[in-house]
Structures are given as structure tokens and as C-alpha cells.
């Protein structure tokens, strides 16, 4: 039984197709990253599956339709932490607990998990952005849900805040729960997720395990004193699938069996001497840019 099954989901805002015939199935235990550039429809999709937005057409089903109130078994942050500013952390969590209808009224453990136990009696309005985001994560834990949904949980945080939230996410992800994580930060998804769906303009471009999305191609970074000569040479070389100047060096996509030492010999023969030549595994970021720029 799938945790979530999305079928032919479509929603438009006027002329904009925010979600365009989206199909997606998420199984138990998967850490599912939903990747897409700004405005690609991530939040709209999550809004629909959490019942706050109405789809134009299509369906979604939680837990195979076996739960009468599925959202009570799911912890969700959608875009921003939403709390009553004049209430404390404890009072806000108590409201969430009341809605979820779970018995445990002691929030010490989950507040400690997000490192907020010391400020539990301060009003939400007095919290920093990072603390607000961490309280939202704490709230998703109430009732020990099987599924967690996070929409850009590190948005607007400073590096320390991002690290803290990622650590918390990692802990959560390791706990065996199903996690749906929407983000445009690829690094985040690559580090945490087991599976990924790449969307753009509301359309699903690619989906599968992170390993299957990452092709076996490699990336070569190369720079030279004579960059225009290098560029011509790269263009004319058939084993270089693509090359792109980053400002410091060229990023070149090559096949798995590409031989870098041979490349440096050939370059020398052509009179181009590299000042920088590095081989590395292709990262999700490059894959993502490639997939989204093609469409």
C-alpha cells in the first residue's frame, strides 16, 4: 500500500498552470525530495495534498484510503511556520495536540529535539526566524506521525540555522518515517533524500531514486590561460558532451569511461596547457539543471 498516490493532478491560477497533470506515488519509508525551481508548483502540490487548496482535476489518496482522517497522522510545514504570535511554544503545541486529538500533553521531548526547551514559555512573536522554523518542526512531531511534509524548511535561515534544521531533518529521516521534502536547494535533497521528483512549470520531468536520477556521467573542471582556445578545443572534441563556463573554469560533461590523463595529453598536443583540471562525479545539481533546462 502506498503512502500517497497522486493521479493526474491539475490546478491553474488564471492562465498559470501551477500543477499540470502530475502523477506521483510515494511508498512507506521513502525520503522523497520534490525538486523544482521557484514557481514550479511544489507548494501548490503540497497544498492540495494537505486539503487547503482545491485541485481543478485529478485525485490524491493517502494511505490507500484506509484512514478516515489521514492528515491527523501527518505532520506538515507548508511554506511558513503558522502559529499564534501571542501564545508560547507550549500553548501553541497544545493547540496542535488538541486538533490532532492525541493524549500526550508533555512536549518536553520534542522541544528538546529542536533545542527550544529553554524558550518554551516565550511568546512565538519573540522568536527568531530559526526558532520559529524549529518550533514548526517540533509541531510536526506531535502525535508521532508516520509521514512528515516539509516545504523548504531551511528557507531564510542563516548557515547555523540551516545546519541545525538539516540535522533535525536527518534525525527525523533516520527514524523510519516517510518524509516529503520540497526544496530548490539540491544539496539538501541530495544529502537527505532517497528519492526525488523533479518538477518544472507544474510538470513532472523525472522521478525515481536519487541514484537512478544521477546518471553515470562525470564532470571535468578545466581552465587554461588561453580560455578561447580551450573553448574551441572543447567544442571540437566529440567525447565532451557539453561544456559550460562557470566564470573560473569550464564544466564539461563526459561519459563514465572518459580518460582525463589522455585529455591533458591531447590538450598539450593542441598547445593548450590547463591551469586547472579536476574530475568529479556529476552532482544532482548538474543533473537538475540539465533536466530543467531541456524542458
Amino acid at each position: 500500500m502506498s503512502v500517497l498516490e497522486i493521479k493526474n493532478l491539475t490546478k491553474s491560477y488564471g492562465p498559470i498552470r501551477a500543477v499540470d497533470n502530475l502523477n506521483l506515488t510515494i511508498e512507506a519509508g521513502q525520503i522523497y525530495g520534490i525538486l523544482g525551481p521557484n514557481g514550479s508548483g511544489k507548494t501548490t502540490t503540497l497544498g492540495i495534498i494537505t486539503s487547503v487548496l482545491k485541485p481543478d482535476s485529478g485525485t490524491f489518496e493517502w494511505f490507500g484510503g484506509m484512514e478516515a482522517e489521514p492528515l491527523k497522522k501527518i505532520g506538515t510545514i507548508l511554506e511558513t511556520p503558522n502559529f499564534y504570535p501571542y501564545l508560547t511554544a507550549d500553548e501553541n503545541l497544545e493547540i496542535v495536540r488538541h486538533i490532532k486529538g492525541t493524549p500526550n500533553k508533555d512536549f518536553t521531548e520534542i522541544l528538546e529535539l529542536v533545542n527550544l526547551a529553554g524558550r518554551r514559555n516565550s511568546k512565538f512573536a519573540s522568536y527568531s526566524l530559526g526558532m520559529k522554523q524549529r518550533l514548526a518542526i517540533a509541531a510536526t512531531m506531535i502525535g508521532d506521525p508516520n509521514v512528515l511534509i516539509f516545504d523548504e524548511p531551511t528557507n531564510g535561515l542563516d548557515p547555523q540555522g540551516i545546519a541545525d534544521v538539516r540535522n533535525t531533518l536527518q534525525t527525523v529521516a533516520n527514524s523510519g518515517r516517510t518524509v516529503i521534502l520540497a526544496s530548490h536547494i539540491l544539496d539538501e535533497v541530495e544529502k537527505i533524500c532517497t528519492h526525488v521528483a523533479i518538477i518544472k512549470n507544474g510538470k513532472l520531468l523525472a522521478t525515481g531514486s536519487v541514484g537512478s536520477i544521477l546518471s553515470n556521467d562525470k564532470t571535468i573542471e578545466v581552465a587554461s590561460a588561453d580560455n578561447s582556445g580551450l573553448e574551441n578545443w572543447l567544442r571540437s572534441n566529440p567525447s565532451i558532451q557539453s561544456s559550460q563556463f562557470t566564470g573560473f573554469y569550464y564544466d564539461c560533461v563526459v561519459a563514465e569511461d572518459f580518460d582525463v590523463s589522455k585529455m591533458s595529453q591531447e590538450m598539450a598536443r593542441a598547445g593548450i596547457y590547463p591551469t586547472h583540471l579536476v574530475e568529479r562525479k556529476k552532482r544532482l545539481e548538474e543533473e537538475f539543471l540539465e533536466i530543467t533546462s531541456k524542458s
Binding site: S51, V52, L78, N82, I95, V96, I99
Partner: protein, 270 residues
């Protein structure tokens, strides 16, 4: 229902806007009447009532009820708008749905809140009216004191009607400022203008008295109008709806407001 009310209580018991508005209601209901203490009858037509009738049975029910007509409309109506729009503003309405409460249950929680506020408002009115009446009436017994022409029930109906109108505008307009502006201006200006406009066209003004907010107002009308019946006049015009009509129109309006509010919540994105 009580469970939902408990949730609303947790949400708003520490809210300063709601507390302040409720405090104003408690303060201004008796104050509104007691301000008339120095009411100057000198120079008034002979048939106008003196201050004594404001405070003693049975007049106190009508006069305090009319004061309540204003303070319920002003303070508690705004509370009802705020219960809806603040949750939209803080996005806690969204979060409540995300956390698993169905939209229809969420609507019930708001409905139970305005129901509870109306009961509180009515109880307070009944206690204050009774207390003032007992204090200022020389010779009273319970039967006389409570002979008030259904005043308590009319007051409750008036309260729940104002609050459901406000609730509906909150769901419709979503922004507190806009909803309060429309609420005030509809009741105080727009409906009156529409009625005046129609009155030129219709032969009888009576029909335009059946506009919903006017009917709600007439559940607890300005008592002075009664005395105008004593004035010989050539105006062929009824100022007030008969009580039965006011009750029927108000109840219909109440049902429409509630159904409309629920419809708006159920159908739209949150």
C-alpha cells in the same frame, strides 16, 4: 461541540484584542444606559419618558436592550470578524486544516464560538437588566420583573444574528480592516441608503423595513419610537417592524448568513 469550544478558548483566551472588546462590552452595556441618568426632560414633549422608566421594570428591559443593540453590534460583531480574519492573517486557519481538522468541523468551531459569545452577552444583559430593575423599582415581584415581552430571547437572537453576519463577512472578505469597514458601513449606511432609494419607488415604506439588518435591529428597537405613536402625524409610515416579522426575517437572515459563511469556507482555497 464543547471540545471545539475548548479549542477556541485555547486559541483566543490570551488574545488582547478579543479580551479588550469583550471588556468594552461588559463596561459599555450598563454605561450606555447609565449615561442617560442625567437625561434632561426639560423642554421635551410631555409624552417623552423620564429617566425613571429607563431603570425600572419593565422599561429597563427595552432600554438596556437598545443599549445592547449598539454594543453587541460594535464590540462583539468585531470580535466575530476577528475570530475569523486573525486566523486567516496568522495562517493558523490553514494550519488547523493541515493538522487534520476538516473544514466543516472548523466551521462548527467558529459557529460554537459565536454561539457561546451570544449566550454570554445575553446572560450578562439579563443579569444587568434585572439588577438595575430591582434597584430602581420600588415595588416589584418576580412575575412583574420578568414580564418583559420575550426581551431575553429577542436579545439572544439579535446577538447571534449580528455575529453570524460578521462571521460571514470575515469569511467573505478575509481581511479584518475591510470586513469591519463593510460590516459597519453596511449596517449604518448602505442598507439605509438602499431602503431610502427603494422607498421612492414603492408605495409603502413598510416593505423596506424587512431588510435583514433592519429586522435584526428591530428585535431590540429604540424605545422612543413607541411614543411617537402618540404624536398625531400625517406621515403614512411605520417606523418599526412588528415583532413577529422582525423575528421571522432575522431568523431567515441568520440561516442565510450561516449557510453562506460555510459555503465560502468549504469551496475556496485556504
Amino acid at each position: 461541540m464543547l471540545n471545539l469550544l475548548a479549542l477556541e478558548w485555547k486559541k483566543f483566551r490570551k488574545n488582547s484584542v478579543v479580551s479588550l472588546l469583550c471588556f468594552f462590552y461588559v463596561l459599555f452595556l450598563p454605561a450606555g444606559l447609565l449615561l442617560l441618568k442625567d437625561f434632561d426632560t426639560e423642554g421635551m414633549p410631555i409624552f417623552m419618558p423620564g429617566p425613571q422608566t429607563f431603570y425600572s421594570f419593565p422599561g429597563v428591559w427595552e432600554y438596556l436592550g437598545y443599549a445592547g443593540n449598539w454594543v453587541v453590534f460594535f464590540f462583539l460583531g468585531v470580535v466575530a470578524i476577528y475570530l475569523v480574519t486573525s486566523e486567516i492573517n496568522y495562517k493558523t486557519q490553514r494550519q488547523t486544516i493541515i493538522n487534520g481538522m476538516s473544514r466543516s468541523t472548523y466551521f462548527l468551531s467558529k459557529l460554537s464560538a459565536i454561539f457561546a459569545i451570544s449566550i454570554f452577552a445575553t446572560l450578562y444583559y439579563a443579569i444587568v437588566a434585572f439588577a438595575i430593575g430591582v434597584y430602581f423599582t420600588d415595588d416589584w415581584d418576580f412575575a412583574y420583573a420578568l414580564d418583559n415581552n420575550w426581551a431575553i430571547s429577542r436579545y439572544f437572537l439579535m446577538s447571534i444574528c449580528y455575529l453570524s453576519f460578521a462571521l460571514m463577512l470575515g469569511f467573505l472578505l478575509r481581511k479584518a480592516g475591510l470586513a469591519i469597514f463593510v460590516y459597519m458601513s453596511y449596517v449604518l449606511i448602505i442598507e439605509i441608503l438602499i431602503r431610502m432609494g427603494l422607498r421612492w419607488k414603492l408605495t409603502s415604506g413598510e416593505l423596506t423595513n424587512h431588510f435583514p439588518l433592519n429586522a435584526i435591529e428591530d428585535l431590540m428597537p429604540m424605545p422612543f419610537w413607541k411614543y411617537t405613536e402618540m404624536i398625531p402625524t400625517n406621515i403614512d409610515f411605520e417606523f418599526l417592524l412588528p415583532m413577529k416579522n422582525a423575528v421571522i426575517v432575522s431568523t431567515l437572515a441568520l440561516v442565510v448568513f450561516i449557510l453562506l459563511a460555510r459555503f465560502l469556507l468549504m469551496k475556496r482555497d485556504i
